[in-house]
Symmetry: C2
Subunit: 559 residues, 2 copies
Amino acid sequence: MSTSVPSARPSADEHTTGGVTLGPIEGSTKHYLADGDLRIPQRRVHLTNGEHLDLYDTSGPYTDPEVEIDVERGLPPVRGAWRRPAPIDGAATQLAWARAGLVTAEMRFIAAREGCDAELVRSEVAAGRAVIPASHRHPESEPMIIGKAFAVKINANIGNSAVTSSIEEEVEKMVWATRWGADTIMDLSTGKDIHVTREWILRNSPVPVGTVPIYQALEKVNGDPAALTWEIYRDTVIEQAEQGVDYMTVHAGVLLRYVPLTARRVTGIVSRGGSIMAAWCLAHHTESFLYTHFDELCEIFARYDITFSLGDGLRPGSIADANDEAQFAELRTLGELTAIAKSHGVQVMIEGPGHVPMDKIAENVRLEEELCEEAPFYTLGPLATDIAPAYDHITSAIGAAMIAQAGTAMLCYVTPKEHLGLPNRDDVKTGVITYKIAAHAADLAKGHPRAQERDDALSKARFEFRWNDQFNLALDPDTAREFHDETLPAEPAKTAHFCSMCGPKFCSMRISADVRAYAEEHGLVTAEDIDAKLAADMAAKSDEFRRSGGEVYLPLEAL
Amino acid sequence: MSTSVPSARPSADEHTTGGVTLGPIEGSTKHYLADGDLRIPQRRVHLTNGEHLDLYDTSGPYTDPEVEIDVERGLPPVRGAWRRPAPIDGAATQLAWARAGLVTAEMRFIAAREGCDAELVRSEVAAGRAVIPASHRHPESEPMIIGKAFAVKINANIGNSAVTSSIEEEVEKMVWATRWGADTIMDLSTGKDIHVTREWILRNSPVPVGTVPIYQALEKVNGDPAALTWEIYRDTVIEQAEQGVDYMTVHAGVLLRYVPLTARRVTGIVSRGGSIMAAWCLAHHTESFLYTHFDELCEIFARYDITFSLGDGLRPGSIADANDEAQFAELRTLGELTAIAKSHGVQVMIEGPGHVPMDKIAENVRLEEELCEEAPFYTLGPLATDIAPAYDHITSAIGAAMIAQAGTAMLCYVTPKEHLGLPNRDDVKTGVITYKIAAHAADLAKGHPRAQERDDALSKARFEFRWNDQFNLALDPDTAREFHDETLPAEPAKTAHFCSMCGPKFCSMRISADVRAYAEEHGLVTAEDIDAKLAADMAAKSDEFRRSGGEVYLPLEAL
């Protein structure tokens, strides 16, 4: 696939076939950890100083040149041969097995991938504080976990609509999104060919796939919410379950009596699923069929091990509507449904807002944990202000980082096109990178083990003027390299001990390195050293430093 | 000036002359509030429903078609004829006058601009919790205030370096940055023609201009820090003071004994000014001349009413180095210097980091307020992670929004080129818009009066499908409009009751509007209404809703 804008320029190793981007990210190779019969993929970044750093890798086989890719055939079913324990009380789910004390292959895979103990994985799943979205019918997926004890995850929404897009574009969007770090993807298609689009995505997706079944159900009744029935919805869920959808958004908390609570809002109901169910409830003056048939839904989910993503159909769509009565009324009902789902052995996560000012973010997490038994929270942003359409990846990254720090387990990305149009290839990449930033910032703030390794490696490379290492350790090596080259394109500049910000004659990083060399040479590395030696030692050495400083500057000034 | 990329596309009213962008931002006109002899500029956004919203306006006369712009002559000296009170104890400063109970014209102007009482302005300045950077020699500037009781401000750095750029480009960067919302600009030029560049910027700048005098002083000694002297520095400060610089960054807290504290850091000293002074201290084994001559500096600043921006020369340059001994040792010294400056009647703000993980941000504000008498905090970001070069406007917007929520008064912007190269015109705009987001998100979170007006107006426009109003109320109307038009370029789409995300057949916003109409028609607007009327009223009306809903959908389906 050709790319027309700089930020999506193919890197040296990147190429495409059949419309799909292949090859490793610049400076990296695929590396597999071995755990018994399991092979856990990692992205190995090779540094110019001979070291390397292994990173969590969501990109699947597409970045492994050893794997032959054929999108018509789909990915190899990596989980196909794994032993599956027997159902427990009708539930063939990771939750049921975790509660029974079983450590599944998926849990072992995840433990190696996260760098933690498999028992932590099992116990968090058993407690309902983490979910493993891994449908039996989607064996192509590489197991991953969503829970606050683990690295914060991100989801990328893709999907065609009635207005634009094609199937090939959607599959490539999935490959493209996971290449840059999407941990799950949601297929939110609303137009034609929903079934076929989803089949292509599932057979080719190395990450869990989520859907909102009500969208397809609505297509089946020609877009009239009032014409929906439980039976149409149920059959749609089964159709999608058979295909292998790993988690489904279900807006079962939009109750009839909550709908009028939104009437005085500035932006009413902004969730598509929420508004469909609100329209249905009002049209029939009947309680939502998603709520009244919730037990039956649980029985279906339990058979395939589909994870609930209980949708927040009444989430606020503006700063003015944040944390209002409608939003929290629905959240209480989601808590009730969480308990029901778990009683069926079904895994649950809870969706969250939306648009929330920074001072109201923590309250969302606190209430969600209190009302929903600490089920993993999965939020859309939230946007910290409404006034920046075209920059809502940024308005929402602020809220996303903060809500993840407070305990949200997965962040649904927002692209620059939010509120304005459908994201293209570049928008998807921008959204994913922006959300990797938010998730990683939260991991750092939470003190997640290993989170700071990458920051330290990159900062060390920066300080030592290893420009290529700095680029390759970045979330987006291609754009970092390109921005650098705009000002200083010559290859020697990548090893020069200066950059374009200050120019060759003066550089704070270089002076700083000189200070370090001096201080270490003279044993001045702690406050005690300094107090003790300052007067005597440094006075004698100042001339020496001036001389050595002059020697260091000379060759650089001569550039 | 021609623009080559979409995000900087000229809007309908925008044009350029002499290399400078002129004309109002799309959908807006210049409006002046009158307060006696003062005329306070505002940006009036005109809405299609006949309403308007007046916004804080940093763009100066460039967006007023009534004002003839001549960059050779410079802007009219708006403050030139204002009465200036007599010096008090040698200080002709807003601080000295505020302490004496005087409300200056600048304070009145600011009160009208901020929408607060002039006494609040005076008392915050008198307490040292706010500063008004307004040199007597820069009468072209429109007064503004930096303090946590007021709207959070942002600064944009511009300036040439030895490697690239020209004078005309720098002046246009200033005009461009203030057009999009920069409250102050800093001229950080390090190459040739520093004096002339600064003169052009000052004579044409409607916002306060800051500098780092040590950069020019270093040029005078051919880039050798060891060759600097107090006399050379002092003369540089006076040269810049005579030109009209409003605030100056002075790294007087980098003491000899603190320098070796940075030796074991991952990224040493990353501040240019900090590293220059560190090199000087080590070379001479003498205490920093900025520290030892600080009283003389205060006397100069007091004459012109230049505001100190006490630089954090030892700020962390990586997550690993955040909140360390070197950083906070310097902060304590800045507190000492704050007291000295204020004893001379000189206004002071304190610069802050840098790179700080989210969990360590609040501590920076707490300590700054405790150690520096609540002098306004002015921070660079901070970046919440190191791993995203090319996206550091975003990594830092996260930190900036949080630190502003905690009390920071002004945020120094970061552009996508941070760490990689010099920002171009588009990078400057991206940096400014991103920081307006961070500042505004903080204003919302702090409950700043009037902050939410714009969010509500935009969200209301969004909900009512007033697309042009949504664009024109946005921080960047041009890019919002352009993103929308990528998918749905036709003019009728700007009034259509749907958008490209869902297509014409189904739209949650439209369903939501239907719900509102229904609920309001039937008096269902509070929880009490609902509990009381649900059973009786709604049952009877459900058929009616279904019918009215059908009527609403019909014309849209026919599109």
